[in-house]
Symmetry: none
Subunit: 171 residues, 2 copies
Protein backbone atom coordinates (compact mmCIF):
# COMPACT_ATOMS: atom_id res chain seq x y z
CA UNK A 1 0.00 0.00 0.00
CA UNK A 2 1.31 3.38 -0.98
CA UNK A 3 2.13 6.07 1.52
CA UNK A 4 -0.51 8.37 0.05
CA UNK A 5 -3.14 5.69 0.52
CA UNK A 6 -2.17 5.22 4.16
CA UNK A 7 -2.35 8.94 4.80
CA UNK A 8 -5.66 9.10 2.98
CA UNK A 9 -7.26 6.39 5.10
CA UNK A 10 -5.75 7.81 8.26
CA UNK A 11 -7.38 11.16 7.57
CA UNK A 12 -10.66 9.53 6.59
CA UNK A 13 -10.71 7.60 9.84
CA UNK A 14 -10.15 10.82 11.73
CA UNK A 15 -13.05 12.42 9.90
CA UNK A 16 -15.21 9.39 10.54
CA UNK A 17 -14.47 9.60 14.24
CA UNK A 18 -15.29 13.32 14.40
CA UNK A 19 -19.03 13.66 14.86
CA UNK A 20 -19.32 16.84 12.80
CA UNK A 21 -17.38 15.48 9.82
CA UNK A 22 -14.74 18.16 10.21
CA UNK A 23 -11.23 17.87 11.58
CA UNK A 24 -8.17 19.97 12.12
CA UNK A 25 -4.69 18.66 11.63
CA UNK A 26 -1.13 19.92 11.81
CA UNK A 27 0.72 19.28 8.58
CA UNK A 28 4.16 18.86 10.13
CA UNK A 29 2.92 16.53 12.86
CA UNK A 30 1.23 14.27 10.36
CA UNK A 31 4.29 14.29 8.12
CA UNK A 32 6.46 13.32 11.06
CA UNK A 33 4.06 10.56 12.03
CA UNK A 34 4.32 9.09 8.53
CA UNK A 35 8.06 9.87 8.22
CA UNK A 36 7.51 11.78 5.00
CA UNK A 37 7.99 15.24 3.55
CA UNK A 38 5.35 17.74 4.70
CA UNK A 39 4.48 18.44 1.09
CA UNK A 40 3.35 14.83 0.83
CA UNK A 41 0.36 15.86 2.93
CA UNK A 42 -0.47 18.54 0.39
CA UNK A 43 -0.25 15.98 -2.37
CA UNK A 44 -2.71 13.70 -0.61
CA UNK A 45 -5.06 16.59 0.08
CA UNK A 46 -4.96 17.86 -3.48
CA UNK A 47 -5.53 14.47 -5.05
CA UNK A 48 -7.96 12.83 -2.63
CA UNK A 49 -9.72 15.57 -0.69
CA UNK A 50 -10.91 17.80 -3.51
CA UNK A 51 -14.30 19.52 -3.85
CA UNK A 52 -15.27 16.78 -6.31
CA UNK A 53 -14.68 14.26 -3.58
CA UNK A 54 -16.85 16.31 -1.27
CA UNK A 55 -14.18 17.94 0.87
CA UNK A 56 -13.57 21.57 1.70
CA UNK A 57 -10.16 22.58 2.90
CA UNK A 58 -8.99 25.70 4.71
CA UNK A 59 -5.62 26.33 6.28
CA UNK A 60 -3.72 28.87 8.29
CA UNK A 61 0.02 29.45 8.26
CA UNK A 62 2.25 30.81 10.98
CA UNK A 63 2.30 30.05 14.68
CA UNK A 64 -0.55 27.77 15.65
CA UNK A 65 -1.34 27.15 12.00
CA UNK A 66 -3.42 24.15 10.94
CA UNK A 67 -5.37 22.53 8.12
CA UNK A 68 -9.12 22.11 8.44
CA UNK A 69 -10.90 19.48 6.42
CA UNK A 70 -14.68 19.36 6.21
CA UNK A 71 -16.55 16.52 4.56
CA UNK A 72 -19.95 16.92 2.96
CA UNK A 73 -21.84 13.98 1.49
CA UNK A 74 -22.82 14.18 -2.15
CA UNK A 75 -24.94 11.70 -4.03
CA UNK A 76 -22.88 10.54 -7.00
CA UNK A 77 -25.84 10.21 -9.35
CA UNK A 78 -26.68 13.84 -8.93
CA UNK A 79 -28.01 15.81 -11.83
CA UNK A 80 -25.45 18.52 -11.31
CA UNK A 81 -22.59 16.03 -11.31
CA UNK A 82 -23.87 14.89 -14.68
CA UNK A 83 -24.07 18.46 -15.97
CA UNK A 84 -20.58 19.24 -14.77
CA UNK A 85 -19.22 16.24 -16.57
CA UNK A 86 -21.27 16.55 -19.76
CA UNK A 87 -21.98 20.24 -20.15
CA UNK A 88 -19.14 22.03 -18.43
CA UNK A 89 -16.16 19.75 -18.91
CA UNK A 90 -12.87 21.57 -19.24
CA UNK A 91 -13.96 24.38 -21.51
CA UNK A 92 -17.00 26.63 -21.48
CA UNK A 93 -17.73 29.56 -23.78
CA UNK A 94 -19.68 32.56 -22.61
CA UNK A 95 -22.90 31.71 -24.53
CA UNK A 96 -22.69 28.13 -23.27
CA UNK A 97 -22.38 29.40 -19.71
CA UNK A 98 -25.37 31.71 -20.08
CA UNK A 99 -27.50 28.97 -21.62
CA UNK A 100 -26.61 26.51 -18.89
CA UNK A 101 -27.42 29.00 -16.14
CA UNK A 102 -30.78 29.82 -17.73
CA UNK A 103 -31.64 26.14 -17.95
CA UNK A 104 -30.57 25.46 -14.39
CA UNK A 105 -32.73 28.35 -13.21
CA UNK A 106 -35.90 27.51 -15.13
CA UNK A 107 -35.59 23.88 -14.08
CA UNK A 108 -35.37 25.06 -10.47
CA UNK A 109 -32.09 23.25 -10.02
CA UNK A 110 -30.55 26.40 -8.60
CA UNK A 111 -32.12 29.66 -7.45
CA UNK A 112 -32.07 32.89 -9.43
CA UNK A 113 -29.87 34.35 -6.69
CA UNK A 114 -27.28 31.61 -7.12
CA UNK A 115 -27.45 31.95 -10.89
CA UNK A 116 -26.76 35.66 -10.69
CA UNK A 117 -23.79 35.03 -8.41
CA UNK A 118 -22.33 32.62 -10.95
CA UNK A 119 -23.16 34.99 -13.79
CA UNK A 120 -21.36 37.77 -11.94
CA UNK A 121 -18.27 35.61 -11.52
CA UNK A 122 -18.27 34.63 -15.20
CA UNK A 123 -19.24 38.01 -16.63
CA UNK A 124 -16.96 39.57 -19.23
CA UNK A 125 -16.14 42.33 -16.70
CA UNK A 126 -14.95 39.73 -14.23
CA UNK A 127 -12.80 37.95 -16.78
CA UNK A 128 -11.45 41.12 -18.37
CA UNK A 129 -7.81 40.07 -18.35
CA UNK A 130 -5.54 39.82 -21.38
CA UNK A 131 -5.39 36.06 -21.84
CA UNK A 132 -6.30 33.96 -24.88
CA UNK A 133 -9.95 33.03 -25.28
CA UNK A 134 -9.34 29.31 -24.87
CA UNK A 135 -7.78 30.00 -21.48
CA UNK A 136 -10.82 32.03 -20.52
CA UNK A 137 -13.00 29.08 -21.51
CA UNK A 138 -10.93 26.80 -19.29
CA UNK A 139 -11.28 29.33 -16.49
CA UNK A 140 -15.04 29.61 -16.98
CA UNK A 141 -15.32 25.84 -16.79
CA UNK A 142 -13.35 25.63 -13.56
CA UNK A 143 -15.24 28.47 -11.91
CA UNK A 144 -18.61 27.13 -13.05
CA UNK A 145 -17.77 23.66 -11.80
CA UNK A 146 -16.60 24.81 -8.38
CA UNK A 147 -19.54 27.12 -7.89
CA UNK A 148 -22.10 24.52 -8.96
CA UNK A 149 -20.52 21.99 -6.61
CA UNK A 150 -20.74 24.53 -3.81
CA UNK A 151 -24.37 25.32 -4.53
CA UNK A 152 -25.42 21.72 -4.72
CA UNK A 153 -23.66 20.83 -1.50
CA UNK A 154 -25.39 23.65 0.27
CA UNK A 155 -28.75 22.52 -1.07
CA UNK A 156 -28.08 18.98 0.06
CA UNK A 157 -26.89 19.94 3.51
CA UNK A 158 -29.93 22.20 3.96
CA UNK A 159 -32.04 19.14 3.18
CA UNK A 160 -30.33 17.25 5.91
CA UNK A 161 -30.76 20.15 8.27
CA UNK A 162 -27.09 20.65 8.84
CA UNK A 163 -24.83 23.44 7.75
CA UNK A 164 -21.31 23.12 6.48
CA UNK A 165 -19.63 26.44 6.50
CA UNK A 166 -16.54 26.97 4.47
CA UNK A 167 -15.78 30.21 6.16
CA UNK A 168 -15.64 29.80 9.87
CA UNK A 169 -14.36 32.13 12.48
CA UNK A 170 -11.12 30.88 13.90
CA UNK A 171 -11.14 29.92 17.49
Amino acid sequence: MRLSDSIESFIKEMIGAAEDDGIELRRNELAEYFHCAPSQINYVLSTRFTPEHGYMIESRRGGGGCIRIIHVETSPTDHVDYLIRERVGTSLTEPEARLLLRQLTVSNTITAADASMIAAALSPQSLAVPIPEEMKSALRAKIMRNMLLTVIRRIQSEHRGTTALIIRERK
Copy 2:
Protein backbone atom coordinates in the same frame (compact mmCIF):
# COMPACT_ATOMS: atom_id res chain seq x y z
CA MET B 1 -5.09 28.45 21.03
CA ARG B 2 -2.75 31.26 20.15
CA LEU B 3 -1.99 34.07 22.54
CA SER B 4 -3.38 36.58 20.06
CA ASP B 5 -6.63 34.65 19.87
CA SER B 6 -6.95 34.62 23.67
CA ILE B 7 -6.37 38.32 23.87
CA GLU B 8 -8.82 38.88 21.04
CA SER B 9 -11.61 36.98 22.74
CA PHE B 10 -10.83 38.56 26.09
CA ILE B 11 -11.27 42.01 24.57
CA LYS B 12 -14.40 40.96 22.71
CA GLU B 13 -15.91 39.67 25.92
CA MET B 14 -15.18 42.97 27.58
CA ILE B 15 -16.87 44.80 24.73
CA GLY B 16 -19.82 42.43 24.85
CA ALA B 17 -20.21 43.10 28.57
CA ALA B 18 -20.09 46.88 28.12
CA GLU B 19 -23.60 48.00 27.13
CA ASP B 20 -22.42 50.84 24.90
CA ASP B 21 -20.03 48.63 22.85
CA GLY B 22 -17.05 50.71 23.91
CA ILE B 23 -14.30 49.99 26.43
CA GLU B 24 -11.09 51.45 27.78
CA LEU B 25 -8.08 49.36 28.64
CA ARG B 26 -4.53 49.81 29.86
CA ARG B 27 -2.01 48.27 27.51
CA ASN B 28 0.59 47.38 30.13
CA GLU B 29 -1.95 45.90 32.51
CA LEU B 30 -3.35 43.64 29.82
CA ALA B 31 0.15 42.63 28.72
CA GLU B 32 1.03 41.72 32.28
CA TYR B 33 -2.19 39.75 32.66
CA PHE B 34 -1.29 37.68 29.59
CA HIS B 35 2.45 37.57 30.44
CA CYS B 36 3.41 39.00 27.09
CA ALA B 37 5.17 41.97 25.56
CA PRO B 38 3.04 45.13 25.53
CA SER B 39 3.50 45.36 21.79
CA GLN B 40 1.61 42.10 21.52
CA ILE B 41 -1.48 44.09 22.42
CA ASN B 42 -0.81 46.42 19.52
CA TYR B 43 -0.43 43.44 17.25
CA VAL B 44 -3.81 42.07 18.28
CA LEU B 45 -5.43 45.46 17.88
CA SER B 46 -3.94 46.06 14.45
CA THR B 47 -4.85 42.64 13.10
CA ARG B 48 -8.26 42.04 14.71
CA PHE B 49 -9.75 45.37 15.71
CA THR B 50 -9.35 47.38 12.54
CA PRO B 51 -11.96 49.62 10.91
CA GLU B 52 -12.59 46.73 8.50
CA HIS B 53 -13.60 44.63 11.49
CA GLY B 54 -15.86 47.46 12.58
CA TYR B 55 -13.73 48.87 15.39
CA MET B 56 -12.48 52.38 16.06
CA ILE B 57 -9.45 52.82 18.27
CA GLU B 58 -8.15 55.89 20.06
CA SER B 59 -5.39 56.04 22.59
CA ARG B 60 -3.62 58.46 24.89
CA ARG B 61 -0.03 58.16 26.07
CA GLY B 62 1.59 59.40 29.22
CA GLY B 63 0.31 59.31 32.76
CA GLY B 64 -3.19 57.90 32.93
CA GLY B 65 -2.96 56.88 29.30
CA CYS B 66 -5.27 54.24 27.90
CA ILE B 67 -6.66 52.61 24.76
CA ARG B 68 -10.30 53.08 23.86
CA ILE B 69 -11.97 50.56 21.56
CA ILE B 70 -15.40 51.22 20.10
CA HIS B 71 -17.40 48.74 18.08
CA VAL B 72 -19.48 50.27 15.30
CA GLU B 73 -22.07 48.57 13.10
CA THR B 74 -22.57 49.82 9.56
CA SER B 75 -25.11 48.98 6.88
CA PRO B 76 -24.03 46.13 4.60
CA THR B 77 -24.29 48.36 1.54
CA ASP B 78 -22.04 51.09 2.85
CA HIS B 79 -19.66 48.55 4.25
CA VAL B 80 -19.34 46.69 0.96
CA ASP B 81 -18.93 49.92 -1.02
CA TYR B 82 -16.14 50.91 1.33
CA LEU B 83 -14.48 47.51 1.15
CA ILE B 84 -14.59 47.36 -2.63
CA ARG B 85 -12.89 50.72 -2.75
CA GLU B 86 -10.37 50.20 0.03
CA ARG B 87 -9.72 46.50 0.22
CA VAL B 88 -10.40 45.03 -3.20
CA GLY B 89 -9.21 47.72 -5.57
CA THR B 90 -7.60 46.32 -8.69
CA SER B 91 -5.56 43.55 -7.13
CA LEU B 92 -6.41 40.96 -4.50
CA THR B 93 -4.21 38.14 -3.29
CA GLU B 94 -5.65 34.85 -2.16
CA PRO B 95 -5.08 35.43 1.57
CA GLU B 96 -6.53 38.93 1.26
CA ALA B 97 -9.60 37.48 -0.39
CA ARG B 98 -10.09 34.85 2.29
CA LEU B 99 -9.60 37.33 5.11
CA LEU B 100 -12.11 39.69 3.54
CA LEU B 101 -14.70 36.94 3.15
CA ARG B 102 -14.25 35.81 6.71
CA GLN B 103 -14.69 39.35 7.95
CA LEU B 104 -17.77 39.93 5.81
CA THR B 105 -19.28 36.73 7.18
CA VAL B 106 -18.58 37.23 10.86
CA SER B 107 -19.84 40.80 10.62
CA ASN B 108 -23.07 39.46 9.09
CA THR B 109 -22.58 41.68 6.06
CA ILE B 110 -23.08 38.73 3.74
CA THR B 111 -24.34 35.24 4.46
CA ALA B 112 -22.12 32.20 4.83
CA ALA B 113 -23.78 30.84 1.69
CA ASP B 114 -22.77 33.88 -0.35
CA ALA B 115 -19.29 33.78 1.09
CA SER B 116 -18.84 30.16 0.07
CA MET B 117 -20.04 30.98 -3.45
CA ILE B 118 -17.40 33.69 -3.72
CA ALA B 119 -14.78 31.46 -2.14
CA ALA B 120 -15.62 28.77 -4.69
CA ALA B 121 -15.19 31.23 -7.55
CA LEU B 122 -11.85 32.48 -6.19
CA SER B 123 -10.47 29.17 -4.99
CA PRO B 124 -7.09 28.10 -6.32
CA GLN B 125 -8.85 25.24 -8.10
CA SER B 126 -11.02 27.72 -9.96
CA LEU B 127 -8.11 29.90 -10.96
CA ALA B 128 -5.82 27.02 -11.84
CA VAL B 129 -4.74 28.40 -15.19
CA PRO B 130 -1.15 29.14 -16.22
CA ILE B 131 -1.10 32.93 -15.93
CA PRO B 132 1.19 35.14 -13.84
CA GLU B 133 0.23 35.74 -10.23
CA GLU B 134 -0.34 39.46 -10.69
CA MET B 135 -2.88 38.67 -13.40
CA LYS B 136 -4.59 36.26 -11.03
CA SER B 137 -4.73 39.02 -8.44
CA ALA B 138 -6.34 41.33 -10.96
CA LEU B 139 -8.82 38.59 -11.83
CA ARG B 140 -9.63 37.93 -8.17
CA ALA B 141 -10.29 41.63 -7.64
CA LYS B 142 -12.64 41.83 -10.62
CA ILE B 143 -14.53 38.69 -9.67
CA MET B 144 -14.77 39.71 -6.02
CA ARG B 145 -15.99 43.15 -6.99
CA ASN B 146 -18.66 41.89 -9.36
CA MET B 147 -19.89 39.23 -6.97
CA LEU B 148 -20.06 41.59 -4.00
CA LEU B 149 -21.95 44.13 -6.07
CA THR B 150 -24.37 41.38 -7.08
CA VAL B 151 -24.87 40.37 -3.46
CA ILE B 152 -25.61 43.89 -2.27
CA ARG B 153 -27.88 44.56 -5.23
CA ARG B 154 -29.89 41.53 -4.12
CA ILE B 155 -29.88 42.65 -0.50
CA GLN B 156 -31.06 46.10 -1.55
CA SER B 157 -33.82 44.78 -3.76
CA GLU B 158 -35.03 42.51 -0.98
CA HIS B 159 -35.32 45.57 1.21
CA ARG B 160 -36.72 47.91 -1.39
CA GLY B 161 -40.25 49.07 -0.55
CA THR B 162 -39.77 48.21 3.09
CA THR B 163 -38.21 50.42 5.72
CA ALA B 164 -35.03 52.11 4.65
CA LEU B 165 -32.58 49.40 5.72
CA ILE B 166 -29.78 49.48 8.23
CA ILE B 167 -29.62 46.03 9.60
CA ARG B 168 -28.26 46.28 13.05
CA GLU B 169 -27.49 42.95 14.49
CA ARG B 170 -25.81 42.44 17.77
CA LYS B 171 -23.18 39.70 18.23
